[in-house]
């Protein structure tokens, strides 16, 4: 996989967790700024999905394609699903869902990289 893209996405996701943490701490509800940040992260994850599929198609290595694509798609689903769940209740707890999402993405990225590397 492309290391710099994964690093950027990891930092962006941790940034989301931190930003949502600040929102929760100062009791500020999810607003346009936070949603815009989530949208940027979502765009990055979609870009990674496309790049990942292209790299998978070109690689000669024995990567577990099904699991690899499942992780790529799973990552793309995190922003919309967490947004659905976060906006379902306009409260601190709703916004705190983004902390979970922001911490989940780096874990999935790490597993994605392990699956890619395991293929040699």
């Amino acid at each position: 996989m492309i290391d710099w893209l994964q690093s950027v996405l990891t930092l962006a996701a941790l940034g989301l967790a931190a930003l949502a943490g600040v929102y929760v701490a100062v009791d500020r509800l999810t607003d346009g700024w936070l949603l815009a940040y989530v949208a940027v992260l979502a765009a990055g994850l979609v870009a990674q999905l496309v790049v990942g599929i292209v790299l998978l198609a070109r690689t000669g290595a024995d990567v577990n394609g099904l699991v690899f694509v499942a992780y790529l798609v799973g990552l793309v689903l995190v922003p919309p699903l967490s947004t659905f769940w976060a906006l379902g209740e306009p409260s601190r707890a709703g916004t705190a869902v983004y902390i979970v999402a922001g911490l989940l993405v780096p874990v999935l990225l790490l597993r994605l990289d392990q699956i890619w590397t395991a293929g040699g």
Binding site: W85, S91, A93
Partner: protein, 138 residues
């Protein structure tokens, strides 16, 4: 990240419950995905481990749905699922340390969930605490 709650959200799906349900949904998906791949591609390698992981997946799904919905039946489902989850992680965690030979591969609950940052150990405690905390409102 989970089932759409029934109209008139129950107490378990509001406030901190939303965060709890989000984490449960993540584990429901993760355990389901992992155990399906294992059962479909290499069941014969470690059947006990993979069937345990599949059981854990079912427990996480039941807990997610039980917490997200607001009926009395859903609360009983959540109580049963989280109770089984608590016993399961303690039993499998203990067994995996005392009798590693019983398990040919790791499960979600091996070493008390060490492979998942011990979240599988903390999650049922949080779940039970949340069920107790929301009890008087029903």
């Amino acid at each position: 990240m989970a089932e759409r709650p029934a109209t008139g959200r129950g107490p378990t799906s509001t406030g901190p419950g939303r965060v709890l349900i989000a984490v449960y949904a993540v584990f429901a998906l993760a355990a389901t995905g992992r155990s399906s791949v294992q059962l479909l591609t290499k069941l014969d390698e470690a059947p006990v481990s993979y069937l345990l992981s599949a059981g854990a997946a079912a427990v996480y799904i039941a807990a997610t749905v039980g917490l997200a919905r607001s009926t009395a039946a859903a609360r009983r489902l959540a109580q049963a699922a989280i109770g089984v989850e608590m016993l399961g992680v303690l039993a499998v965690g203990t067994a995996s340390l005392l009798h590693p030979g019983w398990f040919a591969d790791d499960t979600v609950w091996s070493g008390f969930g060490a492979g998942y940052g011990y979240v599988p150990l903390v999650l049922p405690m949080a779940g039970l605490a949340w069920l107790v905390r929301t009890r008087q409102h029903r």
